[in-house]
């Protein structure tokens, strides 16, 4: 199962890229845990998680080609 992950704002400073593809992840908790293992600085960053363009509040099951987005707060003006 392919999952597309989009990162926004300063989160891409941590990952170095804005798009990541992940296989064999069943739900959003697994995606987040996997990302935190690969990029420890993400674990201390603030962001919300969206699945298929809707913000989720708890662990959410993913399906083939789901898109998971991590959106941090922006403050600049």
């Amino acid at each position: 199962m392919n999952i597309n992950i989009l990162l926004f704002g300063q989160l891409t400073d941590i990952t170095g890229i804005g798009t990541i593809t992940m296989e064999d992840v069943a739900d959003t908790d697994s995606v987040v845990q996997n990302l935190h293992r690969r990029f420890p600085a993400l674990a201390t960053s603030k962001y919300v998680v969206a699945v298929n363009k809707n913000i989720i509040t708890g662990n959410t099951l993913l399906t083939q080609n789901s898109t998971v987005a991590l959106l941090p707060p922006f403050s600049g003006g």
Binding site: L6, F8, G9, Q10, D13, G18, T44, S45, K46, V48, A50, K53, N54, I55, T57, A69, L71, P72, P73, F74, S75, G76, G77
Partner: protein, 379 residues
């Protein structure tokens, strides 16, 4: 100048749009829009709102024009450097459109003045550059039931949304607290006080804010409500994400004007607990000293010195602290000792006792370092 023909010609190219029309123009002329922050986002928003004929525009900004502003704030020119932005913006906009009323507030928006200023307007445009003011504006708009046109930038990306808009059902669309209920804590967002920004990015986002504002006032099109749009200037990609209405957010907004005035947004945004440590440096310590509700405790033994001057504090030694805890009533407590080690232990004990019901800080480096800092500063 308020000649009908002049007005007609000025706005003719938008009035001939059938969705906009004479009715749209009349709505704009009667509208009152408040732009908070006359910087990268505020300048383009102000220019397009004034040009379009929004009849009453307020500008809040306590800053002065600097040369580093000019690449992204083309409302100002080189001659304006060193002058107050609110006044210079008003002057430039009055030349652009002398047929509208413009009010400059060259003040910092605070919990004391925010409700009074915002109350007089129909819509608020957030062009500020820090989380503390953004949360304050959001909460004020929710309390006063004013729609908020939000915009923010980070490096090459921008966000736009319309918050707390009264929908046809009579309910209000989501606000910033639904997206991020709490401000980020120290270390959760990289500092962007000196972050780079390409001048056109806030230009694009601020113009999108002006567009949402004009749509909101005239009732044209679809607003960015219950969602947030992200724009990437490097890829031209946009991404719109839906925001659900959660009950958690509602409980985060102060319940009344009185509660709002008691809020310390600055503190909220620099909060470092519970997992980020309790330590604050001398500069942060000094900013907290001026807050009325702060209780400061020296946890050294009574024979230890030096004794700092310039602020009030209690002496409760670390050994006596646990017994004395029931007497600690303030919601913000700062502890200090000689070097910052015992006070860190004290902060942990206080957190164990009070949890997140109190903000607890420990002065890093202790009172010795604080005194050294101050004696150096005076030289």
């Amino acid at each position: 100048m308020k000649n009908d023909n002049t007005s007609y010609e000025r706005y003719q190219r938008q009035v001939i749009l059938k969705e906009f029309g004479e009715a749209g123009q009349q709505k704009l002329l009667k509208a009152k829009a408040l732009v908070i922050g006359a910087g990268g986002l505020g300048c383009p928003a102000l220019q397009y709102l004034a040009a379009a004929g929004v009849g009453n525009i307020g500008i809040v900004d306590d800053d002065v024009v600097s040369i580093t502003n000019l690449h992204r704030q083309p409302l100002y020119n080189t001659m304006d450097i060193g002058f107050a932005k609110a006044g210079k913006a008003k002057h430039a906009l009055a030349r652009l459109n002398p047929e509208i009323n413009i009010t400059a507030y060259p003040d910092r928006l605070t919990t004391s003045n925010a409700l009074d200023i915002i109350e007089a307007y129909d819509v608020v445009i957030d062009g500020t550059d820090n989380f503390a003011t953004r949360y304050m504006i959001n909460d004020a708009c929710v309390l006063l039931n004013k729609p908020l046109v939000y915009g923010a930038v980070s490096q090459f990306e921008g966000q736009v949304a319309v918050f707390h808009h009264r929908m046809p059902t009579g309910e209000y669309s989501v606000n910033y607290r639904h997206l991020f209920p709490n401000p980020p804590k120290q270390g959760e967002v990289l500092s962007c006080a000196e972050a780079g920004v390409l001048g056109v990015l806030p230009g694009i986002i601020g113009t999108m804010q002006a567009n949402e504002t004009i749509k909101l006032i005239t009732g044209m099109g679809e607003l960015l409500i219950n969602s947030i749009l992200t724009y990437n200037a490097l890829t031209n990609h946009t991404y719109e994400i839906g925001i659900p209405a959660t009950t958690e957010a509602e409980s985060m907004v102060p319940a009344s004007a009185a509660a709002f005035k008691q809020m310390d947004y600055q503190l909220l945004c620099s909060s470092v607990q519970p997992d980020g440590g309790f330590e604050i440096d001398a500069i942060h310590f000094d900013t907290l000293l001026n807050k009325e509700a702060v209780e400061i405790i020296d946890v050294r033994e009574t024979h230890e010195w030096p004794l700092p001057t310039g602020f009030n504090y209690k002496r409760i030694s670390l050994m006596q602290l646990k017994e004395a805890m029931p007497a600690i009533k303030s919601n913000t407590v700062i502890v200090f000792c000689q070097s910052g080690k015992r006070s860190l232990q004290a902060a942990q004990w206080l957190f164990d006792e009070f949890g997140e019901s109190k903000k607890i800080y420990s002065l890093q480096g202790g009172i010795i370092q604080w005194i050294n800092n101050h004696s150096t500063a005076q030289v």
